[in-house]
């Protein structure tokens, strides 16, 4: 098991290869559909100047995400006094962010994208070009993954997006995943898909 801690250097990320298991610690931000749309349309493309609230979110995200991780996750959260805690928080399907992910990687200097199910060619190219990996979490293991969230530090856009879609700033201790897309243009998803397609063709006589 390879241990990684944020901020992650370009060298460390370039050493990772498809199929390797990683234990990740340090800062991450959850972001899924509404958050990715917002990051790209509002914070990156900026068709209108940022107002004060958006500028603050942008500053906070820049600080955490440079050398850090985005986690595709819509957690179940609990308020405990002044603090928040994750109750169940496994990865969600990543492919929905395919249209946004490359620009988020480039803009924020991301080193790790965490999710499940894998992503497509745009993300694969961005990982290769900017030095980033896709870390596949264990889909469905919400209780186990919540254990790896040592601390919930802050939340942005909670009102606007609701708890599953907000940006939760968290600190991981020992999040376990498998590198399925590396910074060398390799994708375990493509390899599995190719093999499955060949087997299917043989089983159905369509080869």
């Amino acid at each position: 098991m390879i241990e990684l801690r944020t901020p992650i250097s370009l060298e460390a990320v370039r050493e990772l290869r498809v199929g390797e298991m990683v234990s990740l610690s340090g800062l991450a931000v959850t972001a899924r559909d509404a958050a990715h749309k917002y990051m790209v349309e509002r914070l990156i493309e900026r068709r209108q100047p940022l107002d004060e609230a958006d500028a603050r979110v942008h500053r906070e995200l820049r600080e955490v995400l440079r050398g850090g991780a985005v986690y595709h996750c819509g957690p179940i959260v609990r308020r405990e006094g002044e603090r928040w805690r994750f109750v169940s928080a496994g990865p969600t399907t990543s492919i929905r962010e395919e249209v946004y992910q490359d620009r988020v990687i480039a803009h924020f200097g991301l080193r790790v994208v965490i999710g499940k199910g894998g992503m497509g060619p745009r993300t694969r190219r961005a990982c290769q070009e900017h030095g980033c990996v896709y870390l596949h979490g264990l889909g469905g293991t919400g209780a186990l993954t919540a254990e790896a969230v040592a601390e919930v530090l802050d939340v942005f856009k909670l009102e606007a997006f609701g708890p599953p879609e907000a940006f939760w700033k968290i600190r991981f201790e020992g999040f376990v995943g498998v590198v399925t897309m590396d910074a060398h243009g390799q994708s375990l998803h493509d390899q599995v898909a190719e093999r499955a397609a060949q087997k299917l063709a043989a089983l159905t006589g369509t080869s």
Partner: protein, 306 residues
């Protein structure tokens, strides 16, 4: 007093709305935090099938560890508690409107207690209702039966697996799938390959042959209510289920799409009469987190959840 009126009175006693609400709340809690025994057994078997030390085995080990943790702590095993699909059998003379109110109230309470994630989103405004109740949400299927008791089947179906469901219209030229069971086999395997790791394998398939576009999807989900270890009463469909299960597990997609031997835990196929012009094959994919439970309410007896 005639027979129908007296059965109506019996049913009303069995169905005090507050009692139903409390029982459904407990049904939701059990369903979200604890998988049924047949699914747990299948997951243990799947782990044994994986190569020791492989990624597939690691995935299965962590999946099983997650289940122990969720059950022990009473927290949702998966953060996506999904669409709560209710199938209610009730005696004659029971108000389905009042049953719906009781179920909705149970959902509100389950959400407030973090047993469920708020999952009902208005598609026009993007606003989350925050309580798991909304327009057409939750879907509840009511059916009257001869029994004096009430049975509530609940399935919590996550978004990842729901998104990889598919409907095929046969014949399919690219898949060389004709209008027969051989064609069905081809398109169902195609669906498994397309789902790859996105639906959280090893999964379970609910399949419907025939019907129309909407009844096909409904029946495919109903098939998922069958226990994993039952046998289809139709020998042709039973053989088809076994064959698809065997062949899907040779695709080497494996747990969570990491590669490996367990791609599916089960295949359940049903059939509905179709129009001469249409031949639909509809597939609902269920993730390994196969959350379903049954609540039985009989007279004044304590509620039973299994």
């Amino acid at each position: 007093m005639d027979g129908s009126a007296s059965s109506g009175i019996r049913a009303t006693t069995a169905l005090d709305p507050e009692r139903l609400q409390d029982a459904v709340l407990e049904l939701i809690r059990r369903t979200a935090t604890e998988l049924p025994p047949d699914v747990k057994e299948a997951l243990h078997r799947a782990r044994q099938q994986e190569e020791p030390g492989s990624r597939g085995e690691l995935a299965m080990s962590l999946i099983l560890r997650n289940l122990e943790l969720a059950e022990g702590r009473g927290v949702p095993a998966c953060q996506d508690t999904g669409t709560p699909l209710f199938y209610v059998h009730h005696p004659e003379g029971v108000s389905t409107r009042r049953m719906r109110q009781a179920i909705e109230e149970a959902l509100r309470q389950a959400t407030a207690r973090q047993v469920l994630r708020p999952n009902a989103v208005d598609p026009v405004t993007g606003a989350n209702s925050g309580v798991n109740v909304g327009t057409g949400f939750p879907p509840i299927h009511f059916e009257e039966w001869d029994e004096p008791s009430v049975r509530v089947d609940l399935m919590l179906k996550g978004g990842g697996c729901e998104n990889v469901g598919a409907q095929y219209s046969l014949p399919s030229e690219p898949l060389q799938a004709g209008r027969d069971l051989e064609g069905v086999r081809k398109v169902v395997l195609d669906c498994v390959v397309r789902a790859e790791g996105k639906g959280c394998p090893p999964g379970v398939l609910g399949v419907c042959i025939g019907g129309d576009r909407s009844s096909g999807y409904e029946e495919s989900k109903r098939q998922l209510l069958r226990p994993l270890d039952d046998r289809n009463p139709d020998p042709a469909l039973a053989a088809l289920e076994e064959r698809i299960l065997d062949e899907a597990n040779r695709l080497e997609i494996g747990p969570l799409g990491f590669g490996g031997r367990s791609t599916l835990l089960g295949v359940k196929v049903g059939a509905l009469h179709r129009l001469p012009a249409s031949y639909f094959v509809t597939v609902s994919y269920m993730c390994w987190e196969y959350r379903r439970r049954t609540l039985l309410l009989r007279g004044d007896e304590p509620p039973v959840i299994r």
